[in-house]
């Protein structure tokens, strides 16, 4: 072989014969560096619908330039189950199991939203106080269970396998509590029109109090394990920043909005059930994103809001346990419910945002229109603007922090 000190004429023979270099730089060591302008093209990658990190069957069509995402287009509809059409086809009470199944992680809250909307159309129906207290306890326990899944699966997406097992350990306890009260672990259909359908079994309230005491210690463990973890902070801080204006424009609600620093929680500001009284008694506060690890409104802020909300839920549960008294649990609901004609929209604070039902009745046994305003559907739209400019690994972090449930996006 020729030695390196040959003339350029023989060196040309050893260069790849594609193109000559566009630029040659001579380094201090005497070596030469060749720069070539290589034409790259954007790669279109399909993320999903079957994917371990998309939290369900969601498809995101990513356009990437190497590792940098230049465009993202979510495609939905892979779990469209015609919930709104079913709302127009079955009776009022028969629709309740379908409400469980849109946001299946917070089924109690879904039942509550639908029941409150129907009760808004039936003004003469009185809900007894014990029913309201049990509703609040179940809704808040469900919020803890839902945030536990969000925390566990977010760790899984980022690459941390351990928090998932811890989160599900606590979740099993909550599911056991719900199984004692209504017989189901995931899709309860427990909060019904007029109250709740089953009274608490003996000893249940004491078990809930025990759970609250044990959970606080565990919560601190999880916070230190994942949320304060140096690697997790580096993966999620300054990633997917949503400003307050952007949040308003996209219609975001729930932890997505509070993570950007906006102080708004439907339970405190437009109260339903007895959350207003609970707040006035100091039972719970509203945690907000602070931007302490990075920028205000990044993924870490949203995750941190969800974690801190779990502790506030315990406060509400404890307040309800003090307030609850023996009594009836369901109002005077007829066997076949006929809702008087009218229209109402009622929105409540779901773990993911505002879940609203718009119901239109013409006085019969079946609704004329049952529109579901699903928070995950609205929250997902922000991905189109958040993902471009981030790296591929950050795309997964952004989807995880949005905490969507595809049953809700597609209904």
């Amino acid at each position: 072989m020729t030695s390196p000190t040959e003339t350029s004429a023989t060196e040309d023979e050893h260069k790849p014969s594609i193109r000559p270099a566009d630029e040659v730089r001579i380094l201090a060591s005497g070596e030469r560096e060749f720069f070539m302008d290589v034409a790259t093209s954007d790669l279109e990658i399909n993320m999903g619908p079957q994917h371990p990190a998309t939290h369900g069957v969601m498809r995101v069509l990513l356009r990437t330039d190497g590792e940098l995402v230049t465009g993202a287009q979510p495609h939905l509809g892979y779990l469209h189950r015609c919930a709104e059409k079913i709302g127009e086809s079955v009776e009022w009470l028969q629709y309740l199991p379908y409400t469980d199944r849109y946001d299946y992680l917070s089924a109690m809250n879904n039942n509550l939203s639908y029941s409150l909307a129907v009760e808004a159309l039936m003004p003469e129906l009185e809900i007894p106080r014990r029913g309201t207290m049990i509703r609040m306890i179940c809704a808040e326990l469900n919020r803890i269970a839902s945030h536990l899944v969000a925390f566990g699966t977010y760790g899984l997406d980022i690459g941390a396998f351990t928090p998932f097992f811890y989160a599900f350990r606590e979740r099993e306890w909550i599911q056991a509590l719900f199984e004692k009260i209504c017989g189901a672990r995931l899709t309860y259909s427990y909060i019904r029109i007029g109250g709740v359908f089953n009274d608490t079994p003996p000893g249940w309230l004491r078990e809930v109090a025990d759970f609250c005491d044990v959970f606080e210690g565990k919560w601190q463990e999880y916070y230190d394990l994942l949320i304060e973890n140096h690697i997790f902070v580096q993966r999620t801080a300054n990633v997917g920043v949503i400003t307050a204006e952007m949040a308003y424009d996209f219609g975001l609600t729930g932890p997505m909005l509070r993570g950007s620093g906006v102080d708004f929680d439907l339970r405190r500001d437009m109260p339903y059930l007895e959350y207003g009284q609970a707040h006035d008694a100091g039972a719970f506060g509203v945690p907000l994103g602070t931007g302490e690890k990075g920028t205000l409104g990044d993924c870490w802020d949203r995750t941190q809001v969800r974690m801190k909300e779990m502790i506030e839920c315990l406060g509400i549960v404890r307040w309800c346990l003090e307030q609850i008294e023996p009594g009836p649990i369901i109002g005077n609901v007829p066997r076949v419910i006929k809702v008087p004609p009218g229209e109402a929209y009622v929105g409540i604070e779901n773990p993911r945002g505002e879940l609203g039902h718009y119901l239109h009745s013409d006085g019969g046994k079946i609704a004329t229109r049952c529109r579901v305003r699903a928070p995950s559907f609205v929250n997902l739209a922000v991905l189109e603007d958040l993902m471009p400019g981030s790296l591929l690994a950050d795309a997964v972090a952004i989807i995880g922090a949005t905490d969507i449930v595809v049953g809700e996006t597609d209904r």
Partner: protein, 171 residues
């Protein structure tokens, strides 16, 4: 502000498109009126929806920064109108507003509200595929939840359930 104050403010400001106000009323045996329960809303002309929503968003006293919901409803097969239903929320004033528009089924088109609220984009896509409404000026009118070649508009009251799709039975 409660609903009456909001409605008052809207009519005093002479907002384009405001037609009327629909309040709940108890049933009346004398006029055989079944009554209307639930929550009140304002009725707005669909052609002026963009100006109406812009006013709602930018006015200081109203301050509706968030579009909560935009959907449609087909009240019945005989009704000649489709309803467009919009819910707004004001975070700083802590109040809501319900808006209803009547669109004749023979002329199902209205301007798109995506310029006012970005949240409307996906809601309008869903309305387009479920009811067949056309939102003029919509930047991305693809099917949202249904497959791209799904026939018909499922949420209309006269929709017939299909018997099969691509060779697989639907029954």
């Amino acid at each position: 502000m409660d609903f009456n104050a909001i409605a008052e403010h809207l009519s005093v400001a002479n907002v384009p498109g405001l037609l009327s106000v629909d309040l709940p009323r108890p049933p009346d045996k004398k006029t055989k009126d079944k009554g209307r329960s639930g929550l009140p809303h304002v009725c707005v002309d669909p052609a002026c929806m963009v100006e109406f929503l812009t006013f709602c968003r930018d006015d200081e006293a109203l301050g509706f920064e968030v579009l909560i919901d935009l959907s449609a409803s087909d009240p019945s097969v005989d009704d000649e109108n489709l309803w467009i239903l919009i819910q707004l929320l004001s975070v700083r004033h802590r109040h809501r507003l319900g808006i209803k528009s009547l669109l004749p089924k023979s002329a199902l088109s209205m301007p798109s509200s995506t310029r006012v609220y970005r949240a409307a984009q996906w809601h309008e896509r869903e309305c387009m595929e479920m009811f067949g409404v056309t939102f003029e000026g919509h930047p991305d009118p693809r099917n949202m939840l249904l497959p791209d070649d799904w026939p018909g508009y499922p949420m209309r009251k006269d929709y017939e359930f299909p018997k099969e799709y691509h060779g697989i039975s639907c029954e």
